[in-house]
Symmetry: C2
Subunit: 345 residues, 2 copies
């Protein structure tokens, strides 16, 4: 294992700056003395776009390639037309660096508010495909803005793309105590993509007899997310369904203030990128109100990815302990939460 | 208003037969003496397909056109490959009869179990587009079954199709006390379809200054469904997002045993079709365990559509009263629930 980490940091928009600062604080606190951490900040996001019109120039994309990993805060601002930064920056990174595993763990921590009655025991991980589906940018609009407009969106799914994420999900399921994998799709309507997913899933399943499997349509899956979330262990699903399900998962496990994610390229060909699931929350930006926990947990995923398993666990334990002692009534600032976690690790 | 109803009945598969029988029982009980009800049953679904290979032959499609409305139970069986009956029968009807309004009300009735803590006050209606989006069957598979397979699904959205459903939703919102309409889409990623939806929405909104509007991405919408469902009044959304959101809505309002729907063609050019949101539930079929309430509430939507508003309200009130007095502990059979509702109306 290399004893240095060369990290690219993209704070981005809104609360991005604040939460990333806390993520770095905890990262610095948890790393052993002998690990040299280098960080380089990239000025990308809404302000940059307003100033220069750039979302992600080629030179910066090239430079980003040379880091060991990327920590990203949040992207998006109401002053920028919807889609410009999402497609021109965030998704461009996920696609350019072939982040085919979008890893999103969901866990209901002790002492955390959930909108669900009866506090089910939730601990699952969604393996969301990250480079295909309706996210490919295929599609277009004909006769735009006229009463005869036709707008299309094309979901592209390849055996290559589906098999690699399904295999990854089986590996993750096999490594967990419950060893259960659920495929979520909508193969009764989206029959072409759905059958490719289902057939690939069934084929790979034969190689993992120790993993129990099931299949749910995405609509039915949302029902179980609120009525029986404890039934899930690992879920593998397409890019769009994964987007929807992981926001719902975050909501039932105490909110997107706690939801971490990793955009991972397991081959190591490109740097993986870690980011909280939440957005830039411009309404509370700069006020010290943002909960940096999701970013701190994303740093744990980053460390695990780079081989620092013990340090990742220390962060996760610190978050558990912090939440367990968190007093529901007291509101702490972004900085105070970061400090508390840095002290614990 | 015509004082006769010529109803096509498609019981379909699994619990379809049982719940439709209760729907008809309540329909018979609620209708004034002078309204002549004629019903004709169509044998369509899994058994028919196994026997003849037919899903919906042209002759039956033609015959169905001549009815005033259609009552459908449920379609689907594990013995039939996924997609065959959904696409060949259910969606074929929705598309052939141009059911562009898929109306799905969600209400948390008194004394009904919800998985949400704190029992929020839920009363909204989803206006789901029914004839476009990723449901059009456009798409295909190249090199099927090989490692080089590419499978696509095309979401088709037209100004024509989007505007008519958006207008309908504004009309419905304007007629409700809170007068609030939320557009749900994912226009930061699905930019072509998303911008068509958003631009159409904004254009029509200008004609309804009395309706307050907002926009949510579909992922964020799922969060509010569980954390703040009381914020919604009317929601308008695309076919696939509507499918997902209405199952989630059913779950938070006490389960799909209570979720009704109408596949409506408001022009009257073709018969509209009413069905519970739930599926055929083959695991409990034939055991008298199915809750027919969703079908009975679908009959109320049917009556409203045909102009029998007073009768529709009587059914809805009967369901409210029945649920209010329902004893959580006692399990009633499908038939008993139907009887109780028939007596009340
Ligand atoms: C911002 C948006 C493009 C993004 C997505 O849809 O993937 C976000 O919702 C997420 O889940 O990371
Ligand atoms: C059975 C299936 C084709 C259908 C749909 O996806 O529309 C169902 O889920 C529904 O919501 O009515």
């Amino acid at each position: 294992m290399s004893r240095s980490i060369d990290l690219a940091v993209i704070p981005g928009d809104g609360i991005g700056q604040e939460v990333v600062a806390q993520g770095l604080k905890v990262l610095n606190a948890v790393l052993p003395q002998d690990v040299k951490l280098e960080t380089k900040e990239y000025d990308l996001g809404a302000q940059r776009w307003h100033r220069t019109g750039d979302t992600l120039p080629d030179a910066e994309l090239e430079a980003l390639k040379n880091h060991d990993a990327i920590l990203l805060g949040a992207i998006g601002d109401p002053s920028v037309p919807s889609g410009v930064l999402e497609r021109g920056l965030l998704l461009k990174l996920r696609f350019a660096f072939d982040h085919f595993i979008n890893l999103r763990p969901s866990k209901l921590f002790p002492n955390t508010a959930t909108p669900l009655a009866g506090r089910p025991d939730i601990d699952f991980v969604v393996v969301r495909e990250g480079t295909e589906g309706p996210y490919t940018g295929n599609g277009g609009s004909l006769r735009t803005g006229t009463p005869a407009e036709v707008a299309t969106e094309v979901s592209v799914n390849t055996a290559y793309g589906v098999e690699r994420v399904v295999r990854d999900a089986f590996e993750r399921a096999a490594a967990r105590p419950r060893k259960k994998l659920t495929l979520v799709h909508k193969n009764n309507v989206l029959v072409y993509a759905g059958h490719l997913w289902k057939n690939t899933f069934d084929k790979v399943a034969a190689e993992y007899p120790q993993v129990s499997t099931d299949y749910l349509h995405v609509d039915a899956a949302t029902i179980f997310f609120v009525t029986q979330p404890e039934r899930f262990d690992v879920i593998v699903t397409d890019n769009l369904f994964g987007d929807i399900l992981t926001d719902l998962a975050a909501a039932v496990t105490g909110g997107i203030g706690l939801a971490a994610s990793g955009n991972i390229n397991p081959t190591g060909a490109f740097p993986s990128m870690f980011e909280p699931v939440h957005g830039s929350a411009p309404d509370i930006a700069g006020q010290g109100k943002a909960d940096p926990t999701a970013t701190v947990l994303s740093v744990a995923l980053l460390l695990r990815h780079l081989g620092y398993e013990a340090e990742a666990v220390r962060i996760e334990d610190a978050v558990s302990a912090d939440l367990a002692e968190r007093d529901g009534a007291a509101t702490r600032t972004t900085d105070e939460i970061g400090d508390a976690l840095a002290v614990r690790v």
